[in-house]
């Protein structure tokens, strides 16, 4: 009844090509932004900022990066956490080694460094694909984390590679409260998400999708495979790198290489599976789902156990968490391979006809 595009005419190409062509979508998006920028900072507590909102935004950005590579360009990567680590350590080094380096510039340079490393580990994708490539990206995961642990230069000679990040000050304003940090991260993530959304509907994005669907056919119609695949690796690693820098600077404040483990890579992969492979919105939905689920289980399982008088200890809760994670992944892959984003799309389709089905 409310969600209908009848009567909305497009009279210019620009209007036809906008990201949200339906007026209701635009209004919804503006409301969402208003809530994110005004509502949440006004009402959310410190716990919400530090435990839920910051990790959500940062992991959504990392998932976005992986989604560009896996969802759009079709190259499965199991090393996203390693590229986050590259970003975190690069940003740290730019900050520490160059006096007066603006934080935002060091984030940007961190992303570029991660992109360079991404291209390096993307090179095998020119020769190998599918599972062989997925296993090859594991090489990046293990090698990068090892390098960060073993080369003291990279962590400025701290023991076992632990780095403590300086606070963030931009143009004299110190981002030292959770609220201001949240606003900074939110702005950066939204800008990058907007860029990604535009990128995947451009020529580049279409080339990625052609390579994903069938690379030989893509090559035949004149898409430069090497260029396209390496660009996907670079852009994806750039996003992961910035996410890693934000993770270190804005969320944790102190990180060690082993924190960027294979488990974290899997977590990011799960985000895009649950959220939706090949969907920008899906990266956000998936990140929210995967981050909120353990919190939900942590709260609900002991409560359920005490209600049913079952002897639950912490170990059991973590085992059940693993099982629920695994089962959910299989469930989503079996029932809805396109994830939450697809469910949202179906809901919108239904809404257009509601309440009159004809």
């Amino acid at each position: 009844m409310f969600y209908r595009e009848t009567g909305q005419f497009k009279t210019t190409y620009a209007a036809d090509q906008q990201i949200f062509p339906i007026r209701q979508d635009r209004i919804g998006m503006l409301l969402l932004l208003a809530v994110a920028f005004v509502g949440i900072p006004l009402f959310a507590s410190e716990y919400w900022f530090t435990a839920i909102l910051l990790p959500f935004l940062i992991f959504a950005l990392a998932a976005l990066g992986l989604n560009i590579l896996t969802g759009y360009a079709g190259q499965l990567s199991l090393g996203s956490a390693a590229f986050m680590a590259v970003g975190a350590y690069a940003a740290y080094n730019f900050q520490v080694r160059i006096d007066g380096m603006p934080v935002l510039v060091s984030f940007l340079l961190a992303g570029l460094t991660a992109a360079a490393v991404g291209i390096l580990f993307g090179l095998p994708s020119l020769r190998i694909k599918g599972f062989y490539l997925a296993v090859a990206t594991l090489a990046a995961q293990f090698f990068i984390v090892w390098c960060l642990t073993k080369f003291p230069y990279l962590s400025n000679d701290s023991s076992s590679g632990v780095i403590s990040l300086p606070g963030i000050t931009i143009l004299g304003f110190a981002f030292d409260t959770p609220r201001s940090t949240y606003l900074l991260v939110l702005t950066l993530v939204l800008l990058l998400a907007l860029a990604a959304k535009n990128l995947v509907r451009s020529t580049t994005g279409r080339a990625w999708m052609a390579v994903r669907d069938m690379d030989v056919a893509a090559e035949v119609i004149g898409i430069r495979l090497m260029h396209t695949k390496l660009l996907a690796f670079a852009v994806s690693s750039f996003y992961c790198g910035v996410a890693g820098a934000l993770y270190a600077f804005c969320y944790l404040g102190s990180v060690e290489p082993d924190g960027f483990s294979l488990d974290m890579s899997f977590k990011i992969l799960f985000m895009i599976i649950v959220g939706g492979v090949g969907s920008i919105l899906g990266s956000f939905l998936g990140a929210a789902f995967i981050l909120l689920l353990p919190i939900f289980l942590d709260i609900s399982l002991p409560a359920a156990a005490s209600m049913l008088h079952l002897p639950f200890d912490n170990a059991t809760v973590s085992h059940i968490q693993l099982m629920v994670f695994g089962a959910l992944i299989m469930f989503f892959l079996v029932v809805e391979p396109h994830g939450l984003a697809r469910l949202w799309q179906i809901a919108k389709e239904k809404l257009r006809l509601w309440p009159f089905p004809h």
Partner: protein, 304 residues
Amino acid sequence: MSFFFEVLIGGLLAGVMYSMVALGFVLIYKASGVLNFAQGAMVYLAALSVVGCMEKGAPLWLAIILAFAIMTAFGIATEKFVLRKMVNQPPIALFMATIGLSFFIEGLAPMLFGNDVRPLDIGLVDEPIPAILDAFNIVVSRFDLAAAGIAALLVVVLALFFQYTRVGRALRAVADDHQAALSIGIPLQHIWALVWTVAGFVALVSGMLWGARNGVQFALTFTALKALPVLILGGFTSVPGAIVGGLIIGASEKLAEIYIPPVMQSMFDGNFGGIEGWFPYVMALLFLLVRPEGLFGEKHIDRV
């Protein structure tokens, strides 16, 4: 020089242990085109089942039979609830499903049998063989040698099973071409359940050997990560590839661990141990650049 040979032999024998895990991958990949990431978790589940049953008072032989029953039930359940519903999905989706499966097992197994580290005694001791020590001054572990023997036996049994039994022939037919196999009346779903059971059996054998060596613990799931470079080196579809790949990876990994860090230390400052984690991967990766289908893998031809 005898030190070099000692490291080499130790590496080769360790490689055999990797090969056994890799074998489980190859079996499932051949028959269903699924790269089963959960193989490491299956090794863990199998070893934990044996230990768990023994703790409840079962003798070793009974525990093994019970563990095999558990692995069989698990294989059938996987086929019924996951694989059957994912027919016609891209192989990458199936691979991701097996990652989910491995998380599921990693939660389930310790819930059933507890998650503390436990020893598993299968009657083999990890000590040097005196005869070889006397003759060549080389330490060769009795345990490793026995493990290699068991692995060789396993490969021979599997090879005979694949070559000369009716079921084995059906398995090879399915591996060759799903559709053609279906059309001559081979029940695909039974075959898949069966091949997961066989992979469960391989996981049981390797789980017992790894468990007896390092204790039954969560770290057994990481055997999958050791087996993956073996696989890409040997080719996903080849049983001999898994064996040869395992030997190459095992030997080169141990040699690299001894000889590379000192070289790096002389070039840079710092301590560069622990390269075992990534060295096999980087080696396999460099190898792939030369031969993208692995040592014994089938050459893949793309058609539009």
